[in-house]
């Protein structure tokens, strides 16, 4: 797709970076470039994915150390420029730790690491990350996390609801998240964080294609 390039960030401990790249390149023909976390030059990428995994071993808290990498420091200007940033799983944790998205992700209520397919309601398609054509308001995506319980205070929750920042809600809350929240956007809509993995739902042979729309949305202006 022209020269549009998605930067896929690699932290020590990232483990979904190659899956994201495979889904974008192999399923959607979108060019990708791996960005090592120590790089702060984001001039040659048009959108960024923070992939899942265990950045810096999830030491201290999930995403807490990654927040201080040169790349995340450079992300502020990138987001302000209106370019799109997608944080998946550990990427969502990094986005909340670094303040790009409100709230925090904490240990699952039942303490289990949950690896399963979940049904999700599309609540808002702010930013155009999800198909809101009225055709399909429920999608199925895989989750794989031990610390995916979204938590925020009541004022923040009200703000999320009032400003239509809640993108996805679990149909059957697997982890105890506040208000069944599985994914949120920033106010502008160009930053999305979600616990489910769209890159693992991009081909029928691996169980579904409901993740394609979200990854394809990276090329939206």
């Amino acid at each position: 797709m022209d020269n549009f390039t998605v930067g896929v960030v690699v932290f020590p401990g990232s483990n979904c970076d190659r899956d994201v790249s495979w889904a974008l390149e192999g399923c959607l023909d979108i060019r990708t470039k791996y960005l090592w976390h120590e790089s702060s030059d984001l001039s040659n990428v048009d959108a960024i994915v923070l992939p899942g995994g265990f950045s810096y071993g999830d030491y201290l808290r999930c995403g807490a150390i990654a927040r201080f990498s040169p790349l995340i420091n450079a992300l502020d200007d990138f987001v302000k420029s209106g370019r799109r940033v997608l944080g998946i799983c550990n990427g969502f944790q990094i986005l909340t730790e670094s303040g790009f998205l409100p709230g925090a992700l904490t240990a699952n209520k039942n303490l289990n690491f949950i690896c399963d397919d979940v049904e999700l309601d599309i609540v808002s398609s702010k930013g155009g990350w999800f198909n809101d054509g009225g055709e399909k308001q429920t999608i199925k995506l895989p989750i794989a996390h031990g610390e995916g319980r979204y938590h925020c205070d009541s004022d923040t929750l009200k703000k999320l609801v009032d400003n239509e920042l809640i993108a996805l809600r679990y149909k059957n809350n697997p982890n105890g998240s506040s208000f069944d929240i599985a994914g949120i956007t920033n106010e502008k809509g160009n930053v999305l964080g979600l616990m489910p993995h769209p890159e693992r739902a991009c081909d029928e042979t691996i169980g579904g294609t409901d993740g394609l729309f979200t990854l394809k949305s990276l090329i939206l202006k």
Binding site: L60, E97, A104, T106, L111, H151, D153
Partner: protein, 84 residues
């Protein structure tokens, strides 16, 4: 330069569910311990640090706690400080 030993305690805020604490409470009761009303798990971080006096060191520790050691969305912190 003065040296200080600092002990930082990071705890989940009272309003935040602590599943690990709940599981440990359950195990404690199975062990036969009676009378446990609540059990919550936090972290303790020990830092040896030098600086020009206590005030300067407190400023450094406040920054570390607020920006790194604790996520104040879900956690509270406090610390004790001892001059070495």
């Amino acid at each position: 330069m003065d040296q200080f030993a600092v002990k930082v305690f990071v705890r989940l805020r009272p309003s935040v569910l602590d599943p690990a604490g709940e599981a440990t409470k359950s195990a404690s009761i199975k062990l036969g311990a009676e009378g446990i009303k609540s059990l919550r798990i936090g972290k303790m971080i020990e830092v040896n640090i030098e600086g020009n006096g206590e005030n300067e060191v407190r400023e450094k520790i406040d920054l570390l706690c607020d920006r790194l050691f604790a996520n104040t969305v879900i956690e509270d912190y406090e610390y004790s400080l001892e001059k070495l």
